[in-house]
Amino acid sequence: MTNKIVIAELTKGTVNASTAELVSAAQAMGGDITVVVPCTDASMAESVSSYDGVSKVIAVKSDIFSGSDSSGWASALDSATPSGTILCLATARSKDVASRLAARRGLSIVQDVVSIDGNNLTSPIYSGKANQTVTVNSDVVVSVRANVFPSVGSSSSNDVSVVDASGDVKTAVQEVMQRASARLDVSEANIIISGGRGMGSPANFTHLEAVADTIGAAVGASRAAVDTWDEIPHSMQVGQTGKTVNPNLYIAVGISGAIQHLAGMRSSKYIVAINKDADAPIFQHADYGIVATWEEALPAFQDALSSLLA
């Protein structure tokens, strides 16, 4: 049983709470657990110092971690990360960095793990139409999906050692076209409400945005919505040729549930569907289905949410 190294997930400059899920994923593999925190300021590692089940915390300090160059991230992390099996969160950036880290060390990588039994790791394949279990027989790099493993508690006080690191940055950001709204992106949200062609017009997405703002959700869309309306950007598209998401709650409004849409969201923990057609395929995948037009259902949904969360 070799050492397990958890790479903490950074979101907008702070340690993402899902890092505590990575520790319990590492426990499921067994071994001594070290958490490595990429940071620009060692105080960012404080939240990790209380995690249970961890024997060591290493804050790896570098300006590189304020940027997005995966070569820089991987080389800086590599210099400060002990040998062993490495676990990180399966977000777009971390999967990229993890792939480089694995390649740097001549290791294989197993992405999007949703279940762990010792050296047996299970991930969805064919967009979630099947699962694949692999057996790893030496150190590997593993990315783990969020919202699958329980979080470890935080009643410990681990020592944090700080290491300064530098790395090999290869790319340069010229400019960033800021997203118009402060709303979350679908790939980072725990709740997503998505609209399809059934919304009738892009203007009607304001009703979805209102719900999103009430519950801190991101707004997504089907490909039919993205292709039909210029106002709905491709960055909102969920599905096989859009983003793969796995939030705690996915609310599909006016979306039929085509297989390519399901490919991007079927692993969501809970699915709510609002559709006027009782035979729409989405209902076969919904935990809670509402057979109604969105014009009828969304106001009631919004009212109930507002009074519940008031």
């Binding site: 070569s71 999967k95 792939s99 480089r100 694995a102 390649a103 740097r104 001549g106 294989s108 990588i109 197993v110 394949i125 064919y126 967009s127 139409k129 099947a130 699962n131 279990t133 692999v134 057996t135 790893v136 030496s138 150190d139 590997v140 290869k170 790319t171 950001v173 010229q174 400019e175 960033v176 076209m177 800021q178 997203r179 992106d185 709740i191 519950i215 491709h234 960055s235 096989q240 859009g242 793969t244 705690n248 709650l249 297989i259 209902f283 995948h285 935990d287 809670y288 289905g289 057979v291 109604a292 037009t293 014009e295 969304l298 009631a300 949904f301 009212d303 109930a304 949410l305 969360l309």
Partner: protein, 247 residues
């Protein structure tokens, strides 16, 4: 002048139903096709050539049954098609695949490699960044648009929006679906593809450290609850709180 390689992988038709027989996925009656993002990679590679001059080689790592996608790439307009394989490879893990790709790409003398952001079977997204690291090259992933000059300039989503990023060559660029359509093969292209010869290459692969144990169908979801009428939405909100515990 650029020596451009585009990586293509054969995968099951993404519309196909997937079944498991025994402990392996049964693909015997499933149509195989090029992984969807790879066609965006081909389009981007061809635009790179059109902007700077050079050649585009489509390359796949796979057995003899995977040549059709190389012909499809040829019909779209790539110059050369290459298949890398050794019959002693049964299952390549990511370390094996990337080692093989590195050797083949160095053999071709490429300075720009395009691939899909993830393959439709694995969904992994490991190959582009992993290959770049092995080659010591720069990379960018989830790229939705590219401009060409001395370096390539890519657009890709970041935490706060969409960034334009300079990626110096040599580089590996993993392509997402962009705001453009991959070109369709024309009749001339299809005729040329019929006659085109697939070049065979070999390489050495390290032993696998990740071995497939089994495939299984995802656990069936318990049947959901369905409600009629818009006013039932308030009941659903209550269930999301009390039963699902997600709001």
């Amino acid at each position: 002048m650029s020596t451009i390689v585009v990586l293509v992988k054969q995968v099951p038709d993404t519309n196909a139903k997937i079944t498991v027989q025994g402990d392996r996925v049964d693909l015997s009656s499933v149509k195989m096709e090029m992984s969807p993002y790879d066609s965006f990679a081909i389009e981007t590679a061809l635009r790179h050539k059109e902007a700077t001059g050079g050649t585009v080689t489509a390359l796949t790592v796979g057995g003899s049954g995977t040549e059709k996608i190389l012909k499809d790439a040829k019909a779209m307009g790539v110059d050369n098609i290459v298949r890398v394989w050794d019959d002693s490879w049964s299952e390549l893990d990511s370390n094996g695949l990337q080692s093989v790709l590195k050797e083949a790409i160095q053999g071709l003398g490429a300075n720009a490699v395009y691939c899909g952001k993830s393959a439709a079977d694995t969904g992994a997204g490991s190959t582009g960044p992993g290959l770049a690291e092995r080659l010591g090259w720069s990379n960018a992933s989830n790229v939705i648009g590219v401009d060409f000059g001395d370096a390539v300039t890519v657009s890709m989503p970041v935490e706060t929006g969409v960034a334009k990023i300079t990626v110096p060559l040599p580089a590996v660029v993993s392509c997402d679906k962009g705001d453009f359509k991959p070109r369709k093969a024309n009749v001339k292209g299809i005729m040329m593809a019929k006659k085109a010869k697939v070049e065979l290459m070999s390489a050495s692969a390290p032993a696998a450290s990740v071995v497939v144990a089994n495939h299984s169908m995802p656990a069936a979801k318990p049947a959901g609850k369905t409600f009629e009428g818009g006013s039932s939405a308030s009941q659903v909100v209550q269930l999301l709180r009390d039963e699902a515990n997600v709001i």
